[in-house]
Assembly symmetry: C2
Homo-oligomer: 456 residues x 2
């Protein structure tokens, strides 16, 4: 029996644990699911004969070390800042480790020691980061192997509501941490490259500078720029690339309406609103509008943000009840962002039978044998239900598959890693396909942003 | 001979030092002007028989203590964060002290010890803070003494170019630290009170929510909200006030045009622009616009921000040369804000014979004997030249006058103080008037924002 320790947090580990338990017979595995909540851990193991549920307080050193010592490999699904303690114990006891989080500087500092001890600390192997790395690097490597030169790389990912459960005007529901959705784009200008020109978008314009994308069978989407597009230059070896853009996917029209909240100042998380607990949604909205007792909150907002009476944006706002004079915020000393999150949760929480949907699309522009071409690669994954969501599948399955392949010695390169090596992405993408996470590719003419080579 | 030590920084101390040197004969004073630059100190003393210029490295403890020990009172015109060392030495050697800066928490912590030693540490006695405190408290106290109840307090201050030197489309030149002008309004939402309703304006809307003011003989101005209006509630004893608003004055139309820079993202100081050193002003502007090689930078900007072809905002932008393809930024690893400051300095630097202008206006709404009224109190001060600027006069004279009155025992209340007591403001405002810094009052009908008491 080989022992896999899953240190949990719950949310995204259902698909992960189910996959490992299913493989436990043929692969001779025992899965220990450790969580602060024994109940949650038990619900994941579901009395499986090759599984054990236990509590684990990750901040209790003795408890943590004992658990890690007895494992053959450790999966940490903890919040990102808690991985480092697990990683250090893994170094001490000579265990491999897998996480779905971005590599922190602290984690990166363990690279040489991990290499020395021939240990694999595989990170960024969830959805985004994770599936995006693997599916992009597979095509980039293929283009390069043929002698092609990369000109353009654009990559978009979004967590949305599935078409069959899409029943609001925003075509959106919360399928992941709502707070992150409210704060998305804050903390600095978005930076990217277009045809060799660096471009910068401040937060308050971010949702007005979207790009449109099409996904066969699913229609039109839009993407707004992520903050960090440029860092993928070195990670993917794209140092001479002309266009580099990473974005977040929403349904068309979401961003234009979301921009209303940004313009009003409702997404601000840096100060608290006076008397937030007892204020109505209407009063909250009014606190961002000029004082005028003769005009309605509605007309003041329309005028301020120049929203025409027949603009669908207006219906989206009304749908959220932001003008309600009966609904009460009920949060003490809350920031605008916290209040907005509360208001949105009323409308955007998945209903019991709702399904979520993950959408990813990459564009690869390149020159090969004197010819410019573009590959469009798209993936859509729809959740089965609210346990096996598309988010749980696309985050948890790559983690689980990688864990097993490390355990079986199929993934070998030691050190603090992310899944950009062929040794890693080829077998994992293949098995993801068998599990319904499939990328569809097509070749289209290369357009880029400047087909006629005008400068400017 | 009574020794006054002025620890300097130069810029605003010309009027201060000239005032004290003039008084030195009748008041039996010796003024020591200490600066890191001996040359600068000498230029201020100008070989006056009752003055001495010296160098002083404020971070050299022995040097600093020796200088303070030999003084009877110390004026610190250092950058705000450096006052605290001077204050601690003043406590040690039993010296009074005067600064024009906001009271820091560190400074405030010295209050009890200062009281115990019967020392006066007078702060916030420049223009803003300073003249604003005194001129506001004089009228607020008078209204209260008559039994009136304060309903509204609005206060606006601005440093501008004098009408006779006003020769650009923005009606603005830099008369103080340009960097502060570029960053103005950043760091959090503006908060204020209107008719009992708290209002919040995010930075990217701040310059679109201005208030108009009139100053007799000088015409129309506009004010945009400062971040910190609410803190004056307790300082001025206005706890039940319905309307509380502090703002910064510009000429009408400035803010609407300035908003273009904010919308583009040019005032951002949080990241550096790639290749900033070698880029043209035009390339800088273009880096905030969507990529499109077929359209001009001009048309892209007009379209993005919806600027009509006959809008004066456009002429203001053109006047600053932001579309120039010959002017080079020339700053290494510069932030957008640093580059914008550079561009503005080209156009907004005072010419040799230019004069500056300080404008201040307070509005006091109150109920007295069942009647609502409003007092409008305005002050305009125009600089003599580039040495005795209106900024130097309005900052330096209150400091100098306060110093002498403390030295002469006319101002007596010990502790860490700001000029809100009658003992302080009455004699100083009187002497400011003799020096041409005069407030003109008029009584107007009270309007407030809600004359008909509608709620909403």
């Amino acid at each position: 029996m080989r022992n896999i320790l899953v240190i949990g947090w719950g949310q995204s580990s259902s698909s992960l644990i189910t996959y490992l338990l299913k493989k436990s017979f043929s692969e001779n595995l025992h899965i220990t699911v450790a969580d602060v909540s024994l109940e949650l851990a038990k619900s994941k193991v579901n009395n499986h004969e090759n599984g054990t549920a236990r509590t684990l307080n990750i901040l209790n050193e003795a408890e943590r070390k004992e658990a890690i010592k007895n494992a053959d490999i450790v999966i940490s699904m903890l919040p990102a800042h808690l991985h480092i303690n697990v990683a250090k114990d893994c170094l001490e006891f000579g265990k491999n480790m897998v996480t779905a989080s971005y590599i922190s500087n602290e984690m990166n500092a363990l690279h040489e020691e991990a290499v020395k001890k021939n240990l694999i600390f595989m990170n960024e192997i969830g959805l985004d980061p994770g599936v995006d790395h693997m599916s992009a690097m597979q095509i980039i490597d293929r283009i390069r192997e043929k002698g092609g030169k990369m000109l353009l790389f654009e990559s978009f990912t979004g967590g949305l509501v599935a078409p069959e459960s899409d029943d609001n005007l925003w075509n959106y529901k919360f399928t992941w941490n709502p707070r992150n959705v409210v704060l998305a784009g804050q903390g600095g200008a978005a930076k990217f490259l277009q045809e060799g020109t660096y471009k910068y978008i401040p937060y308050h314009k971010l949702f007005r500078r979207t790009e449109i994308l099409n996904i066969d069978g699913y229609g039109k989407f839009e993407g707004y720029a992520n903050r960090d597009s440029l860092k993928y230059k070195s990670v993917y070896g794209l140092d001479d690339i002309l266009t580099l853009y990473r974005g977040t996917i929403r349904r068309v029209g979401f961003s234009r309406a979301w921009n209303v909240f940004i313009q009003l100042g409702m997404t601000d998380d840096s100060y608290t609103i006076e008397n937030s607990e007892h204020m109505t949604y209407r009063e909250f909205t009014n606190s961002f509008l000029a004082y005028n007792p003769f005009d309605s909150v509605e007309l003041k907002l329309r005028y301020y943000l120049k929203i025409d009476q027949d603009d669908i944006v207006w219906d989206k706002l009304v749908e959220l009840d932001i003008f309600s004079s009966t609904k009460i915020v009920g949060l003490k000393n809350a920031t605008p962002a916290q209040i907005l999150e509360k208001i949105l949760r009323d409308s955007w929480t998945l209903k019991e039978n709702d399904k979520d949907m993950i959408v990813m699309q990459h564009l690869f522009g390149y020159e090969l044998n004197g010819k410019k071409e573009q590959i469009e690669s798209s993936m859509v994954c729809i959740g089965d239900n609210q346990t096996y969501t598309s988010m749980a599948k696309t985050v948890g399955l790559p983690v689980a598959i990688a864990t097993l392949k490390i355990l079986n010695g199929e993934i070998k390169t030691p050190g603090v890693q992310m899944p950009i090596l062929k040794e890693v992405y080829e077998p994992i993408l293949k098995e993801l396909e068998e599990n319904g996470i499939v990328f569809h590719e097509k070749i289209v003419p290369y357009l880029g942003y400047n087909p006629e080579r005008v400068t400017g």
